[in-house]
């Protein structure tokens, strides 16, 4: 397969392929973090995760329209405003959903599955009725689109670099929030032993609400960032949900580090195989590997040890 290429061509292709794997890694982490927080810390499987992402994408769309018509001079920077707004909106919707629905279902995990799935259908139809059934095209500022040429033959997509940096920032921020802040300590206390945490004066209801909101908020930011690489329509959230669950379950519930490790493994396996095999075959082999590993380690790669 490679005999007809020169050495330097191969080097640059492999360099670009390496970056493709890293970009996929960043995308998967960004997709999965919000779900991992909610699933890991609260045991709630949020089937509407994709729809929260798409809310973020729609917010980005409307922000871009607003900037294009009101502040065309600032258009190059609208994306940062859009991500902030996406976080605020999805965080707000997340806390609302927790308050109105999820909090009644904590003792019935299967029902939360059904309820959030219902929520995802409701949100999809809501988007369709309000924003229209057709996909919308989000205009990305020109500087974020092209590619950055490292050498003559190695070109790296700028939006990929952007997603990588964004993922790094959010993951670092989350680390400090969960493991270095007072609030994070409360969250972890609630996960480990809810009655005891309540007994020492932690407002567990508030912790739950904010955790759910935070997970949704991060989903919103991810959705906003993905307008650069994917589509924005009422059902686009469904495109991400399978990969997201795959990453979280494979990584082990309750472990943010596990999510990151699993995203790394899946992305590298997938992008390497995509290069040597066909796209569909790569997906099949990736899924088979995940199934195989989960049969041997049902708790996922890195599971949190807690007393049941």
């Amino acid at each position: 397969m490679f005999s007809e290429y020169s050495g330097s061509e191969l080097v640059s292709i492999f360099a670009m392929q390496g970056f493709a794997g890293l970009i996929l890694f960043a995308v998967l982490v960004l997709m999965a973090l919000g779900l991992a927080i909610i699933f890991g810390q609260m045991g709630v499987i949020n089937m509407a995760h994709g729809e929260f992402m798409i809310l973020g994408a729609y917010i980005t769309y409307f922000t871009s329209m607003l900037f294009a018509s009101q502040f065309p001079d600032l258009f190059a920077g609208y994306f940062f405003v859009a991500m902030a707004l996406a976080f605020v909106a999805t965080f707000a919707l997340g806390t609302l959903v927790e308050w109105s629905m999820i909090r009644f279902l904590y003792r019935r995990p299967l029902d939360t599955l059904l309820a959030t799935w219902g929520l995802s259908l409701i949100l999809q139809q809501f988007y369709r009725s309000v924003f229209g059934a057709r996909e919308v095209g989000v205009t990305i500022p020109e500087w974020m689109m092209g590619s950055y040429a490292i050498t003559d033959t190695i070109e790296i997509p700028i939006n990929g670099i952007f997603v990588m940096i964004l993922t790094l920032v959010i993951a670092t921020w989350l680390y400090f929030l969960m493991y270095r802040s007072n609030w994070g300590k409360q969250v972890r206390a609630v996960v480990q032993n809810r009655p005891m945490a309540a007994a020492v004066g932690i407002n567990t209801e508030k912790v739950d609400r904010l955790t759910f909101g935070l997970g949704c908020g991060i989903a919103g930011v991810a959705g906003s960032a993905f307008t650069m690489i994917g589509s924005t329509g009422p059902t686009s959230g469904q495109l991400y949900i399978v990969d997201t669950f795959l990453v979280v379950v494979f990584g082990g519930a309750g472990s943010l580090l596990g999510t990151i490790v699993s995203a790394f493994g899946i992305s590298q396996a997938q992008s390497t195989m995509e290069f040597f095999l066909s796209g569909s075959m790569a997906k099949v082999l990736t899924l088979l590997t995940v199934v195989g590993v989960l049969m041997l380690r049902p708790q996922g790669l890195l599971a949190l040890k807690i007393r049941k």
Partner: protein, 418 residues
Amino acid sequence: MKHPPPPLDRRRRRLTGWLAALPLSLALGQGVVAAPPPTAEVNSTGLAVTDDSVTVGILHSVTGTMAISETGSVQAEKLAIDQINAMGGVLGRKIDYIQEDGASDWPTFAEKAKKLLVNDKVAAVFGCWTSASRKAVLPVFEQYNGMLYYPTFYEGLEQSPNVIYTGQEATQQIIAGIDWVVREKGAKTFYLLGSDYIWPRTSNKIARKHIEKLGLKVVGEEYYPLGHTQFNSVINKIKLRKPDVIYAIVVGGSNVAFYKQLKAAGIDMTKENPLVLTISVTEDEILGIGGENIVGAYAAMKYFQSLDNANNAAFVKAFKAKWGDDIVIGDVTQAAYLGPWLWKAAVEKAGSFDVDKVREASPGIELTTAPEGYVRVHENHHLWSKTRIGRAKRDGQYELVFETEELMEPDPFPEGYQ
């Protein structure tokens, strides 16, 4: 703003209005007496036809993932029905429609088709979009002898007595496109890419056979699962193989991801190195992709909104007047618009709403008013139509760069291509 006329003036105008209407109503009165044939004569199989109306069905997804694509078809069919009614209907009968939602779910399509045929006894159904939904309703239409007008370009390999295919089948779209790119652009190597289901796979098979017949080379062929959103690896592979043409049949949400990532990877389609030729991106899809992300790509299909002819100008104007100025019209939307008109012509030729008579009358039906230009129904229930190449512009429209001189003959079972 106009001021209302003074009362005297208004009264006079009303009087003259009545006077003017007098001969008209006389003429209409005669027309009504003379034109519509008795119901028993035009409907011998118990369809939903009365003395002044006929009921048809519209069966598309308005919810679920396919709603994105099927919305345009519903709008086109309703527009055609409105226009036919404004002209006096079919055999003097006004068309009423019953709309059912297939909900992007194939068993639901079959169930709703049965409801339309068995309970509502509709005279014809305009509907379906994906091949999967058509395959699901096919046994229903054949069992209860209904008539389906199917608008989407599709893979061929089908010919049912109960379906009229108003979109192009694969060879019409593919062969002219590849011939053009070889002749005009000197293409020698091709990279075939598609979403992983029957239409892209069958189409690429035809494309590959044709490319190899011309003595040229396919340097890669790849399929990605529906909904796949990461194309960086395949783009690297394409860069490695350096084809002259990327032949892309990616659909749905994947489409948006593919073109955005192609652009981000530094492939400028306006430079045509490689050139991108697609058969799956209409103006509808460009809405989601964004014109700036696909500018320079070529598409091979039979209709573009920008076609410059009087039929199309009137169609686009009427469509926008009914559904809003921002709307775009893609290939399938236009094909869906043909459905009610072809049915009307067949009914009038047959002098009957009976499905068997309409079927018999259908081959040879011509439409000179089609927005795409002249079309004719073939013996095999597909349409003779021209194939056109358009180049995507930044504003989301295609610019026509080529059209075949002759109508392309539909060939759903192409010999030597299977």
